[in-house]
Symmetry: D3
Subunit: 332 residues, 6 copies
Amino acid sequence: MIRFDPGDERIQNARTFRVWEGGGEYNVARSLSKVFRCESAIVTALADNQIGRLAEDLMWQGGVDTSQILWRETDGISRKVRNGMYFIERGFGLRPPVGCSDRGNTAVSQLKTGDVDWQKVFGEAGARWFHTGGIFAGLSETTKDVALEAMKKAKESGAIVSYDLNYRASLWSERGGRDAANALNHELLPFADVVFGVENFDASFAAYAEKNFRRAASDIRSKFPDLKVIATTLRNVKSASRHDLSAVCFAGDEVFKANDFADLNVLDRVGSGDAFAAGLIYGLLAGKDVQFSLDCGAANSAFTLTTPGDGSAATLSEIENLSNSKKLDLSR
Amino acid sequence: MIRFDPGDERIQNARTFRVWEGGGEYNVARSLSKVFRCESAIVTALADNQIGRLAEDLMWQGGVDTSQILWRETDGISRKVRNGMYFIERGFGLRPPVGCSDRGNTAVSQLKTGDVDWQKVFGEAGARWFHTGGIFAGLSETTKDVALEAMKKAKESGAIVSYDLNYRASLWSERGGRDAANALNHELLPFADVVFGVENFDASFAAYAEKNFRRAASDIRSKFPDLKVIATTLRNVKSASRHDLSAVCFAGDEVFKANDFADLNVLDRVGSGDAFAAGLIYGLLAGKDVQFSLDCGAANSAFTLTTPGDGSAATLSEIENLSNSKKLDLSR
Amino acid sequence: MIRFDPGDERIQNARTFRVWEGGGEYNVARSLSKVFRCESAIVTALADNQIGRLAEDLMWQGGVDTSQILWRETDGISRKVRNGMYFIERGFGLRPPVGCSDRGNTAVSQLKTGDVDWQKVFGEAGARWFHTGGIFAGLSETTKDVALEAMKKAKESGAIVSYDLNYRASLWSERGGRDAANALNHELLPFADVVFGVENFDASFAAYAEKNFRRAASDIRSKFPDLKVIATTLRNVKSASRHDLSAVCFAGDEVFKANDFADLNVLDRVGSGDAFAAGLIYGLLAGKDVQFSLDCGAANSAFTLTTPGDGSAATLSEIENLSNSKKLDLSR
Amino acid sequence: MIRFDPGDERIQNARTFRVWEGGGEYNVARSLSKVFRCESAIVTALADNQIGRLAEDLMWQGGVDTSQILWRETDGISRKVRNGMYFIERGFGLRPPVGCSDRGNTAVSQLKTGDVDWQKVFGEAGARWFHTGGIFAGLSETTKDVALEAMKKAKESGAIVSYDLNYRASLWSERGGRDAANALNHELLPFADVVFGVENFDASFAAYAEKNFRRAASDIRSKFPDLKVIATTLRNVKSASRHDLSAVCFAGDEVFKANDFADLNVLDRVGSGDAFAAGLIYGLLAGKDVQFSLDCGAANSAFTLTTPGDGSAATLSEIENLSNSKKLDLSR
Amino acid sequence: MIRFDPGDERIQNARTFRVWEGGGEYNVARSLSKVFRCESAIVTALADNQIGRLAEDLMWQGGVDTSQILWRETDGISRKVRNGMYFIERGFGLRPPVGCSDRGNTAVSQLKTGDVDWQKVFGEAGARWFHTGGIFAGLSETTKDVALEAMKKAKESGAIVSYDLNYRASLWSERGGRDAANALNHELLPFADVVFGVENFDASFAAYAEKNFRRAASDIRSKFPDLKVIATTLRNVKSASRHDLSAVCFAGDEVFKANDFADLNVLDRVGSGDAFAAGLIYGLLAGKDVQFSLDCGAANSAFTLTTPGDGSAATLSEIENLSNSKKLDLSR
Amino acid sequence: MIRFDPGDERIQNARTFRVWEGGGEYNVARSLSKVFRCESAIVTALADNQIGRLAEDLMWQGGVDTSQILWRETDGISRKVRNGMYFIERGFGLRPPVGCSDRGNTAVSQLKTGDVDWQKVFGEAGARWFHTGGIFAGLSETTKDVALEAMKKAKESGAIVSYDLNYRASLWSERGGRDAANALNHELLPFADVVFGVENFDASFAAYAEKNFRRAASDIRSKFPDLKVIATTLRNVKSASRHDLSAVCFAGDEVFKANDFADLNVLDRVGSGDAFAAGLIYGLLAGKDVQFSLDCGAANSAFTLTTPGDGSAATLSEIENLSNSKKLDLSR
């Protein structure tokens, strides 16, 4: 999607917008490519107009392979098929970030089973990891099936599958809300190895108690025994400009916890959850241990708060320094 | 609609967009208010989200009364109802202005007869002139009927009705094209007093011949005898940066022609046709003669080419000077 | 007035300025229109040049009715009559906001009794609330009389009158200073129903004691028994970037206190006092109780600190959420 | 003065202004310093507030010595003494540059004889050339006398004196107009060696006839026999974006004409007359012959049309190349 | 290289620069990828610091494969190895584009034979076309040999080799000038199939005569009989803002000429020669005939003049329309 | 040097850079001129191209006399001699400021003894204070000698000499590191009266203990008995956006400590050490006592954190207010 960012103004009074690309699953792919220097690709559909080509231009800059995108012909005015956009202002102090999604009728929401040649993705291209989540799956009745199809194919091919429980109220406002979203997640989780987000767990930074997390994570794994890693960020939103952040994960009956990042200055929080997922995925893909992977995720998430846009602008060495709590001072 | 303008870049490579408000009928209302200092209002529907409120903010700046707007509740992600947007780059030299409309599923395209309280518009508010055209009427099967309804009510109330033959290929691409649009126009023109655009007439600046125009205009009037004024701009697009512009109109069996503006430098051509309509309407509303009104329209149109955005940024005295061919040099 | 804002630079080194409109009494009208969706108008005089028309353009965007403005002819170089401007930098951390007023010889300072047709304002237009204060009244020897004239006419017409004790040292630097300003206030307060600011009271957030406020407010009311509401913000300026804010008011022998907003991040403090007045006026105009109105004012004031420009960019629902201390997190 | 430039927008709709410094006489000094690398200083008065200090910052960048500026204490709101500003938009195509001066009550307009220590200027600092003109002299009744005083002192000291007939209608609108300005010029010209501008001569590029110029210049010299050089630009304003430019001068009974610059693209015409004066002054100061000096002036004037701001951004070698009609193509 | 662009200002007075990536050979690769949708890669060396990574970010956006770049370790302050930069202002009207290269000691100028694994480039990656030219070859004594090495390997692998005679005076200022550059070209041309630029031929648009071109091209081919295509743009620089442009090529004893583009508005001319090369290469690579390929090159070159930056921002369909002289008017 | 500042983005993803001038010793001169209104000049060498002239333009704005600069002819592409640049991003929260110097082969690093006419500097111009430090001296093997030459000449002339121990790891990375830098300092310190920085002392704000400082400073003075003042800032970098700052100095066996500035909001920390030096130098030059001078330095340093760019944008009166701990609130 194209993100419109009014800078330090509010959407309704702005006269200029910066544009970024973003979207839950895409953000993960971008961090993997740009920060962690892994090859990543996005599987989606876009309407073939100038807005779609702007998204392509941004994704090229992001280093994400766009060759698997299905380009849909438009009718010239986006009556049949469109590209998604969202307008988000960053917030400041007691003014929270607020936004407005404009993604009715998007090309991606019209994806249906059979549209994507998964053999090409998992066979020829040899994808080793497949990541999706509740946003894509929740876009429409057909994307739910596409998510299922993809996860099954991924599993069959031997790729690791991760799933983000990400919930957007607006997607479900007229389709059953949180309950329906949970039901969907439960349909898809049997095919996941890694899950981001934990049901029935208070992910606040301040309220964290290991036993609560262990109980909630164990419950999930008892329902979905194939899950190998259950991970989530912990966060306190003190104000739009100040967060506490940490992360925790459950793997092999062990609970791992990242360093705490307290009192972080926040420039733009959007995408910080996706940055966490990317860091953890990177670690696991690179064959690092769980603690390193978790720290990588937490560091990438914290770093993402300091730059505008959804994406992380960190470098791998910065993430490693941050994970190792090395002092970061002006170097020149 | 919100217009996104990438400045001197192309849409697909831009990272920043200026926003303006625009739309054929709206542009006329804005010129009437901002340049000619007449009270004007817009009758439309908008989705009530931050994009709609941005449009409102822009229209307030434009001086157009927004109290007749019907605000539609959204579902949070614009699946049911949206606000229209368009992306246009201005072009430069041999690179023409190109753009991309994103107006599927807009609130205004869902307007249907009975939605608007025309009694309030023409009765209480006492509108003296009603302007619409082929873009609004062509938005959907229902807006066609709304246009008809409105024009009839306007006529009944004694307001003057003008109609712009404006044709957007993208609106008709799957609904019968130019022929269907013409058929629609013919259905509506019986209720118009003033029409902008002339069928079967080559409106090029260079090819203008009075007898051709007289013949074409006479033909139209013979079909729609209530038409009192038939007007059009004449234009040569030498390049995106250079136009020749004039205007001509037929009224009471007489042909009137505006001064020629040759070799105009063009910064942004969008909205210059609407500026012509506004100038002519102003003249007639203000009780001026046809020649003055036509000159006013042509001058406002030419002026609009020199500033960014759809709207005219002229002042009334500048338009009058330009109509009178007064020399315009740096005054300070 | 036009406000020139150098962004993150200092005035004396800037090469670009953003412009906003502002001014104590105007800011109140703008919040009432833009945030609280009440009709509001400004009564003032402007020199009719491009700077004045820029102010008009900004006020249209602000939604304030400009039809009562008296436009003064200029001599082309502003020797006789000008429009006011002020240059303010926002400050940052230990660097305080500083600025420079340029309002000698303004059209508004030349207003004199008889210039304004108050019958039109309070009779035909039917204004229900009239707000003025120490800045307008202190502009010149003649505006003092205009304020008096207006307040009397307002009272006679049944409109509620509010008065802000706002003091600008620069206005009084050669005319008797604080003492003269107080004397003026005392001349005008007999005609006010609501007053913002409290004499002989330390309005610091940290030092607040209800009994001190009760005593100071009671003293004032004993002098001006027509005063129904006496209100003020409470503030600590910890740095240019961090304030504590609250508000308190005295009405019907009762003291009401708003929620405390501690450790607010401040982007631009200018206009936050006016935002308080607007919120409280809105509540009272809308028939809400005093506590609601006070909370409304405090919330609007706090919100105003988070956006650039004098004006509040909040929406009514955001103010209500904030007044109710509802949690504000990223919604999308 | 501070110049506010709205870029490609109009003043009344702009939200951002670039600032430049400018002013007829100052522009000459700036070109001499920045382009021609002569030491130059400005003698003026400024109000000592942040606006004045912004002017100082700009003048330092311009390389003009500010040590002779008289800094006037302000009352905080510019009631007594101000700094001048002007708002000018550049124009485009058929939209001419228009602007608005705001220089009532400026510090410089309050200068009176005796304020400036001319001994310091012409004695200690050893100024070799003194340039003033109709704008400064016309600011007020007292600056007229200051101009007279300065020109006499300059002459006595042996410095060359040049005077620009520059006429600003707005300065004279209530003081006798063009006739009064001419009378003033006639009072001052006896003390000038060089004059820019020619009375009773049509300085249009197209209408130039040597005999007309010779006659007009001879007439002037017969009235003011001390005049050694009488010079003027020749210009056709085809549109705001296209000028023809040349220059002509009369010296020692000979007429010299610069190369013609036809069909120049114009970005910003403001200051191009001053750039001409600076080039010619440079040539004469540097001991070059009249033809070289005139060509220098014309080239600097033409170059100034191609950059934003009043000032010339040329380098001396570029001016020399242009004077010599050397081909200018991309060098890298 | 990183290009610094001061927009409408001059380099020496700018306070803000836009950055682009550029460089003769790179620009060709970028057009092939971005406009013509061919896979392209760049073989070069960059210093591994933030400036190099900025170049990478820009090249990713440009769609050019960066996996063949050799990243050189830096010493932290660029004493040993640097990345190249250039500062160019676009020029306007009579002010020509001027610039300043800063490419001493760059990583690429230190490339030497053996550094690049050409087997990977031509074998594994299977490059079908290799383009280089006089800028790369002229960077240093070692890049000359690298060019030779590469061209030989390319030829052996069956790839087509093109060579641009591009001459930068600054590169040769102390190494023998034009003569030395010609000698180098003659050393390399035996390995080229296609050459851009023609020795001993006046490539001005106005002076074009087919027989002169035929003679010059024939001469070259008689010296380098392997050359299959000899092509060049024809240009008149009327001013920085107005060019005439065409192109001509010699292939199989036939002379082909592109359509003439007269009186083009020029925004930024840098890179227009490279855009010509890219268009012609695309045509030949895609198996089109010579005339189509030449028209493609000329159209891409003309289009590049209308956007900022070195690169072409055209789309393939726009180039095809332009080649076919289809009318380009505002479509929406 | 030219500083490129990507604003709120990272260098590697930026598309626009603001430029500033900077450099350790220069920053001191600029503060002395701009803030403290002393005459200051810079002695350095620059390559005479547009980048060098941009530096000149910035230094003129900074008020630093550039007449002692040695302008070196370039070869057009900076192979032989260049101008230094550095790219620094400001950092935010947990993201530290990072940067990249590009100063290989600069004109200044090629300065050698005999190049500068010190007689002109200390004799004719009568410099009363000479400041240099470890950055300049460490640029190359020849600048070391130039520093020595200059300090000796300064001493002889009676000027006060100050030296900043400033260490840039990148300058010494291949030349012996910190040890070599210390050795150089020890070679130069015998000729210094004032030194900024203290060897073997932990200059952290939190860990400050007077006895430690006294011991370290005494040690230094015992080695270099001519040192009259030994001064340093004390700092805690809590995050890129929050510092604690103070300063301490040793003079005449007494330890002086400035007020503590705790929890400072930091916009841009670069240059804050130089600002400290400038403030202290100003005080001593102006004949103030040590405590005042130290407070002046600390206040200027703290103020510099609040504005972008290396330079301090304070005014003298603001520094004095801050030194005196006067309350700084919005004045208008």
